[in-house]
């Protein structure tokens, strides 16, 4: 894993990587939870952190630690689904529009721009309030995916447009490459930094959206996520009553998640940037 080693040289990446690993471990731990988090009142309520309950218990009578692990799992899952599917759409639209140009480009871009100008939050609030109970992690992820591709598709399109003008496109065509080969072999390495940076940003945004919707009470509140944890803590007046462990946990975890996602995004896109990549090429070899 030469790539990982090189990435780890960057302090930002190392920190983010460690934090993400911890969060992922916690998410995996959730499968071993001794409690079923959809049942309330399994443990005494409102107990502060102790040896038995590491992060205390909440007003619903649940163990905060295990609630947190499930919350992390659900939030991460949703974010990954949203980011993955929105990338697929963005790449397909961006590459096609940029490469084909002409009418195809115009059609795609008008659809694209319609999505950009959609007022996202009101529509999500509307959807949230209508679909409340039928929303789960996966469906919320997919809905966010549909809203999250437009901006990045444009970025990919302009990158593709400029790549088309470069001389090596002609060389590739003269070498007999067909269009799909051209896109995957020649252009994709340039497009990947945008894709990875925007994927991570998209995850960031998705978690943020989810938290917003949940705090407003517009998502399925029976499913533990970072957002819904916060919602319950707020509606049970955890701050006022001094049950700081209940509100602090999701907030701290969210902050850690956002910070590490941001640092990952920055360090990975710096690494993948064609300019720094070119500096690395050949520097590991002996200069004659």
């Amino acid at each position: 894993m030469v790539v990982l080693k090189e990435l780890l040289r960057d302090g930002k990446f190392t920190f983010a990587f460690i934090v993400m690993c911890i969060l992922i471990i916690l998410a995996i731990l959730s499968f071993f939870s001794p409690y079923d988090l959809s049942i309330w009142n399994v443990v005494p309520r409102d107990l502060p952190p102790s040896a038995q309950y590491i992060l205390g218990t909440n007003s619903k009578g649940q163990d905060v630690f295990w609630e947190m692990t499930v919350a992390i799992r659900n939030s991460l899952l949703m974010a990954v689904i949203a980011a993955f599917f929105s990338r697929l759409i963005a790449i397909a639209v961006g590459l096609l529009a940029g490469f084909k140009g002409g009418r195809t480009d115009r059609i795609f871009m008008s659809i694209n721009d319609s999505f950009i100008v959609l007022p996202m939050l009101p529509i999500l609030i509307l959807l949230g309030s209508i679909l409340k109970e039928r929303l789960n992690t996966v469906s919320l992820g997919l809905i966010l995916a549909v809203f999250g591709w437009a901006w990045d598709a444009r970025l990919i399109r302009s990158q593709t447009l400029s790549l088309r003008e470069r001389e090596f496109t002609n060389t590739a065509l003269l070498s007999g490459q067909k269009v799909y080969e051209l896109i995957f072999k020649e252009y994709l390495p340039f497009v990947i930094p945008i894709i990875s940076a925007t994927a991570i940003n998209n995850m960031f945004w998705s978690v943020g959206m989810e938290v917003t919707l949940a705090i407003l009470g517009l998502s399925n509140l029976t499913i533990p996520t970072l957002g819904t944890m916060m919602h319950w803590a707020i509606s049970y007046q955890a701050m006022l009553l001094g049950y700081w462990w209940w509100i602090a946990t999701p907030v701290v975890v969210s902050v850690l998640l956002f910070v590490s996602l941001y640092l990952l995004s920055v360090s990975v896109s710096q690494y993948l940037d064609p300019r720094t990549r070119m500096q690395r090429i050949g520097s590991t070899k002996v200069v004659k």
């Binding site: 003269l174 070498s175 007999g176 090429i281």
Partner: protein, 330 residues
């Protein structure tokens, strides 16, 4: 050793015939579109095993002509006959592929020719695979031969990225890639203008060698008349879309007949302190005006311009084996 290229010898030795080629671009915004005739009624022939130069300043239309020949642009008018077949009428993928195999090209900027993120050998193998059908497993013999023909070996090139080579080396690898299909015609668009003066001759000599050893024809596009004189057999001088003079390279450049060719020749900075410029040149304010002139486009600057030059389209005249587009020879 490569066999002599081509193989398909018909048509009285003429490899490619360009007849009455024209290309009109529409420039400008939605409301004021100007027609720019980038290529105006251009005709010339290239024989087998011949190096033909298409010379002119930037904006003369020479690159547009090469793009049309390669099929990267559609002509507005005219025909191109390659080995007797009309290239503009080629419809089937098979025909187009045969053409691409036989007519290859290299470009001006060696540093942009290859994707900086891919190893150069990939292009060599891909060309082989796509046109010859032989993948990497089938052997690298043909590629080794192509590289040897340009003075390199597969070892020199293996596992390396474009950033690890100099401009001259990259240009050579680019030529080797074009040679993998054993083409009959190589179109070279300003192949040495971005290569250092001290390394240019190696590349230009290569064209000569390939012509002599393998019967390759080269369409050499350049604004550098000195290398054109050195390497080519015939030359056509372009000015604002027209060919103003064409013929044998020694004749055209040693005894230029068209006033523009004369001015070009005089303006060359000869690397000889004893033959410095002794006349003065008058530069024009803008370029676009000249494209839109009626009649002879050089009339604005020509010391011999007559009234007729600005009114009629000037035909070609045969003078002493050279074709000149100038009313002085009527």
């Amino acid at each position: 050793m490569f066999p002599v290229f081509g193989g398909d010898r018909r048509m009285n030795g003429k490899l490619i015939e360009v007849n009455g080629l024209s290309k009109v671009f529409r420039v400008g915004s939605l409301f004021s579109r100007i027609r720019l005739t980038a290529v105006d009624n251009v005709s010339f022939d290239i024989n087998e095993a011949e190096i033909y130069t298409l010379a002119g300043e930037s904006g003369s239309g020479k690159t547009t002509v090469s793009k049309i020949i390669l099929g990267l642009l559609e002509p507005s008018e005219g025909k191109i006959l390659y080995k007797g077949k009309d290239t503009t009428a080629m419809k089937s993928e098979k025909e187009k592929k045969e053409f691409r195999k036989d007519v290859q090209a290299i470009f001006q900027n060696p540093f942009e020719t290859f994707n900086p993120l891919r190893m150069v050998e990939n292009y060599l193998y891909e060309t082989q695979r796509n046109f010859i059908g032989a993948g990497e497993k089938e052997g690298s013999e043909r590629i080794e031969q192509a590289l040897n023909a340009v003075g390199l070996t597969l070892d020199d090139v293996k596992d390396k990225y474009p950033g690890e080579f100099s401009g001259g080396q990259l240009q050579r690898i680019s030529i080797a890639r074009a040679l993998v299909t054993q083409p009959s015609l190589l179109i070279a668009d300003e192949p040495v203008s971005m290569v250092d003066a001290s390394l240019r001759m190696a590349i230009v000599n290569l064209f000569k060698e390939l012509k002599e050893k393998y019967g390759l024809s080269v369409l050499y596009i350049t604004h550098d008349l000195a290398t054109a004189y050195y390497v080519s057999d015939k030359i056509a001088i372009m000015f604002r879309g027209n060919i103003v003079e064409k013929g044998n390279v020694e004749k055209v450049l040693e005894e230029p007949k068209h006033p523009y060719t004369r001015m070009l020749k005089e303006s060359i900075a000869q690397p000889d302190p004893r033959s410095k410029w002794n006349t003065r040149v008058d530069l024009h304010l803008t370029e676009r005006e000249e494209y839109l002139l009626k009649g002879c486009k050089f009339a604005g600057r020509c010391p011999h311009a007559m009234d007729a030059c600005r009114k009629e389209n000037v035909p070609d005249f045969e003078v002493d084996g050279t074709t000149v587009k100038c009313l002085l020879y009527r």
